[in-house]
C-alpha cells in the first residue's frame, strides 16, 4: 500500500438545514494527483474549506501526515503542509506579485516585531532569503516578468499562476487547487497541466477540483465524485467514468 498523506473519515458539515457534507471519507496518497469532481453544489468547495481549516467540520476524523487536524485553525493546517488556491482568485490585490509570494513565506519564517524594528543581522538575512525564495517561485511558475506588478493588474492566467506560487511558498506537502483551469483557453490549460505535472514531479501531492472532465481524466491518478454532499464513487479515472452512479449524477437517471 502506498504512503497515506491525508485521510478523512465520516466528515459531516451542516449549514443550518443544509447537509453540505454527509459522512465523506477519502484517502490521498503521497505523490498522486487526486481529483475531486461533482455537479455544482455537490460540496466540493465545502470539503476544500474543511480540509484547509476555513470551515470547522461537525463530525469526523481528519489526519494529515500523522497529525490530527480535526477542527484545526487555518494557519495550523498550512504549517502542517496543506496549501490552497481559491476558486475565485483571492490574491492580495494591491500587493506586487513578488510581495504576494513573500506573504506565503510567513509561516516558514520567524522574524517578529522586535526583529523588524531592530533589523538585526538574522532578520535581514531572513528577509533576504524570503525575497530570493519568492523570486525562485515566480520563476518556477514562469511569471518573473511581472514580479513588480500589482497583482490586480496581472492577466487572468498570470493571476492563477501567482496564486499557485504563493501557495507553494508555504512549502506544502499537499497543494489543493480549486478549479485552477476555470476560464482558461485550451492553450493556457495545457500550460497549467504541464505546471501541475512539474509540481507533482517535484514531490508535492496535488488535490484538484475541476470541471474540465478531459483534463481530469488525463491528469489525475485517482478521482472521487461528490454528489449532494456524499461521495458516490472513487477510483482510477477509467473506472469512475463508467460508474453508473456518476453518469446518473451528471446526466440524470435516464442515461444510467
Amino acid at each position: 500500500m502506498a504512503d497515506v498523506l491525508l485521510q478523512i473519515e465520516g466528515i459531516h458539515k451542516r449549514f443550518g438545514g443544509l447537509h453540505a457534507l454527509n459522512s465523506v471519507g477519502l484517502t490521498i496518497n503521497k505523490g498522486e494527483i487526486y481529483g475531486l469532481i461533482g455537479p455544482n453544489g455537490a460540496g466540493k468547495t465545502t470539503l476544500f474549506n474543511v480540509l484547509t481549516g476555513l470551515y470547522q467540520p461537525d463530525e469526523g476524523t481528519f489526519t494529515f501526515n500523522g497529525t490530527n487536524l480535526f477542527r484545526a485553525k487555518p494557519h495550523k493546517v498550512v504549517e502542517t503542509g496543506i496549501a490552497r488556491t481559491f476558486q475565485n482568485i483571492r490574491l492580495f490585490a494591491e500587493m506586487s506579485a513578488l510581495e504576494n509570494v513573500m506573504v506565503g513565506r510567513h509561516i516558514r519564517t520567524r522574524a517578529g516585531a522586535l526583529g523588524a524594528v531592530l533589523r538585526d543581522p538574522r532578520t535581514r538575512a531572513e528577509e533576504q532569503a524570503i525575497r530570493e525564495k519568492a523570486w525562485e517561485l515566480l520563476d518556477y511558475v514562469g511569471i518573473t516578468d511581472v514580479a513588480e506588478e500589482r497583482a490586480r493588474n496581472l492577466s487572468y492566467g498570470h493571476q492563477r499562476r501567482l496564486e499557485i506560487a504563493r501557495a507553494l511558498a508555504t512549502d506544502p506537502l499537499l497543494l489543493a487547487l480549486d478549479e485552477p483551469a476555470a476560464g482558461m483557453n485550451p492553450r493556457e490549460t495545457d500550460d497549467l497541466k504541464a505546471l501541475m505535472s512539474k509540481i507533482r514531479d517535484g514531490g508535492v501531492t496535488i488535490l484538484l477540483i475541476e470541471h474540465d472532465v478531459k483534463l481530469m481524466m488525463d491528469l489525475c491518478d485517482r478521482i472521487a465524485v461528490l454528489d449532494y454532499g456524499k461521495k458516490i464513487a472513487e477510483g482510477v479515472p477509467e473506472v469512475v467514468r463508467k460508474d453508473p452512479k456518476v453518469i446518473e449524477a451528471y446526466l440524470g437517471a435516464a442515461h444510467a
Binding site: 498550512v78 483571492r90 523588524a116
Partner: protein, 361 residues
C-alpha cells in the same frame, strides 16, 4: 552615477530637515511667541499618537474609535507613579516604558474580545472601550482613591534627564532653553523613534502580514498567517506608541484629568490619519501636524478677523472653528478621499474602488 546622486540628494534632504527641526522652536518662539512652541510640542505628541493608531487602522485595517484610551492609560500610569498623589516619584525611564507596556497590555485586552469583529462592529466596540476607560478614570476615586476622579492628578513631576528637570529653563551655550523647548527636543527624539519603528514594521514580515490581513483576511489565514496573533500584535504595538505619548503628555502638562481623553480626541486622531493618508507614514505625520496647527491658527484668526471686518463677534470663534473643521473634512472626503499624501498603494485602492462603483452604477 545616478545612485550616488540619489544618495547625496537624500543626505542633503536629511540634513536640511535636521537643521530646520533643530532650530524650529527658536524660530517659532522668537517670531510667534512661546505659546506656539507649546503647540508644536503638542503636534509632536499627536504625530506619535497618529502613528500608533496608524498601525492598527492604516496597516492592519482594523477600525479603532477608542484609541485615546491607550493615551489615557499611559498618561495615568505616569501620573500615578510620578506625583504626590501616591507620593511615588519614579524616574521617567521607568515610568514611560512601564506606561507603554501597560497601554500595550490594554491594547491586547481590547483586541482579544473583538478578534471576530470587522468594520462597523469593531468601531462600535472600540468606541465603547474608549469610553469605559475614561469613565473608569472618572470614578476610580471611591472606595479607594486611585485616580482622584474628575479632579484629576496634579503636580505631576516633569521629566528629569541626568538631574536636569525639563520643567525649568536651562542656559546653555549662550541660549536660553525654556521648558517648552526642552520638551520639544525630547518629543522630537521619541517621535523620530516612533517613525523608525513604524516604518521598519511596515517593511517587514509583520508589515506584509498586516497588509495581507487588510486586503483579504480569509486568504491571509489560508496562507498561514495566524490572524489572532497578528491582530493582537497590531493592537498591542499601536497602544504602545499611544502609551508613550500619554506618559509624555502627563509630564509635559503636569496635570491629567479624564476630560482630556474624550471620544472627540479619538475621532481627531482618526481624522489625522484619514486626512493625511491612511497607512502612509509621511501622510499621517502631515495629517497630525495640520490638524494640530490649523485649528490653533483658526482660533487666533477668526476672532480678530470678525472684529476688524464686521466690528463685532457674529459667530463664536470656538463654534466657527468646529464648523470650518467639519466643512474641511467633508470637502476633503469628497475631493480627495485617499488623503492629502497617500501611499501609491492606497491611491490605487481608491481608484479601483471608484472604477468598480462606476461600472456598477
Amino acid at each position: 552615477m545616478s545612485m550616488t546622486l540619489d544618495t547625496n540628494k537624500k543626505i542633503g534632504i536629511f540634513l536640511v530637515c535636521a537643521i530646520i527641526l533643530a532650530v524650529l522652536p527658536f524660530a517659532v518662539g522668537s517670531v510667534l511667541g512661546n505659546a506656539w512652541v507649546r503647540i508644536i510640542d503638542f503636534a509632536l505628541l499627536y504625530v506619535m499618537l497618529a502613528l500608533g493608531l496608524n498601525i492598527v487602522v492604516g496597516f492592519a485595517g482594523l477600525l479603532d474609535l477608542g484609541f485615546i484610551a491607550f493615551y489615557a492609560v499611559g498618561a495615568y500610569a505616569y501620573a500615578l507613579l510620578s506625583s504626590p498623589h501616591f507620593s511615588i516619584h519614579l524616574p521617567f525611564y521607568i515610568t514611560i516604558p512601564l506606561g507603554a507596556l501597560f497601554a500595550a497590555f490594554f491594547g491586547v485586552l481590547l483586541g482579544t474580545p473583538v478578534l471576530r469583529l470587522k468594520g462597523d462592529y469593531l468601531a462600535i466596540v472600540t468606541l465603547g472601550f474608549g469610553e469605559i476607560i475614561r469613565i473608569f478614570m472618572n470614578n476610580l476615586n471611591a472606595p479607594v482613591n486611585i485616580t482622584n476622579g474628575p479632579q484629576g492628578i496634579n503636580l505631576i513631576d516633569p521629566i528629569k534627564v541626568g538631574g536636569v528637570s525639563l520643567g525649568s529653563t536651562i542656559e546653555f551655550a549662550g541660549l536660553s532653553f525654556r521648558s517648552v523647548y526642552l520638551y520639544y527636543y525630547l518629543f522630537l527624539v521619541l517621535t523620530v523613534g516612533v517613525v523608525i519603528m513604524a516604518s521598519r514594521l511596515q517593511h517587514s514580515r509583520i508589515g506584509r502580514a498586516w497588509v495581507a490581513l487588510r486586503e483579504d483576511d480569509i486568504a491571509a489565514a489560508a496562507m498561514g498567517i495566524n490572524i489572532r496573533n497578528i491582530k493582537l500584535l497590531a493592537f498591542g504595538l499601536g497602544a504602545l506608541s499611544g502609551g508613550v505619548a500619554g506618559g509624555l503628555f502627563s509630564s509635559f502638562q503636569g496635570f491629567v484629568s479624564p476630560e482630556s481623553f474624550g471620544l472627540l480626541e479619538s475621532i481627531m486622531i482618526l481624522a489625522m490619519i484619514v486626512l493625511g493618508g491612511m497607512g502612509h507614514i509621511p501622510g499621517v505625520i502631515l495629517g497630525a501636524v495640520m490638524l494640530t496647527i490649523v485649528p490653533e491658527v483658526l482660533r487666533s484668526v477668526i476672532g480678530p478677523l470678525q472684529m476688524n471686518t464686521l466690528g463685532r463677534m457674529v459667530i463664536d470663534p470656538e463654534n466657527a472653528r468646529m464648523l470650518l473643521f467639519g466643512l474641511a473634512l467633508v470637502v476633503m472626503m469628497l475631493v480627495r478621499p485617499e488623503g492629502m499624501w497617500p501611499s501609491k498603494r492606497r491611491k490605487a485602492e481608491f481608484r479601483h474602488a471608484k472604477e468598480n462603483a462606476a461600472q456598477k452604477g
